[in-house]
Subunit: 113 residues, 2 copies
Amino acid sequence: MTELLQEKCVACRADSPRVTVEEIAELHPIVAEWELTEENSIPQLTRSFRFSNFAEALAFSSSVGEAAEAEGHHPRIVTEWGRVTISWWTHKIRGLHRNDFIMAAKTDQLYSA
Amino acid sequence: MTELLQEKCVACRADSPRVTVEEIAELHPIVAEWELTEENSIPQLTRSFRFSNFAEALAFSSSVGEAAEAEGHHPRIVTEWGRVTISWWTHKIRGLHRNDFIMAAKTDQLYSA
């Protein structure tokens, strides 16, 4: 995971490249707890994190949100009692970019911090 | 809305009463911007709030979360770039309680603050 953690998100445009099948095969094992999901035909990386109450869930959501702001790349964060579900994808390319794997790794790091 | 805003959530148990159809007819107009939705046969109050960026959306999510903690009644909060979607329902009764209308009114107040 170290490699992804050291990377910064790059600015993304509509013609930026989606990750290829080969890149997914390389990157997904690094963030293996994330599911490759699909919504409205858009692939996403999604993971749920468990907490023992609402306040801890909310604090985690805030820390992921602040990391997102720092990188200029933003997820969907679903905050509930005892659970936070994060989804990363790249709106501009309607798919997955290397940025999403970088942010998944940074999210895992925040959870284990 | 003033009446609901002055109320506090009461502790809820599995045998607490759901709001009746008549109570919904009375309470829903007070928080008219909330949709009565249903998920897995559980009625919910849901409203989306718009923002001009991610940071404002995240700040609103935090303030709703803090209000929820203060009342001991917790919503689902979906935070995205420029949008926050809040859903209120009462897990213990798998339905809507007066508490949910109280919290919808308090959420509206936070948005207009």
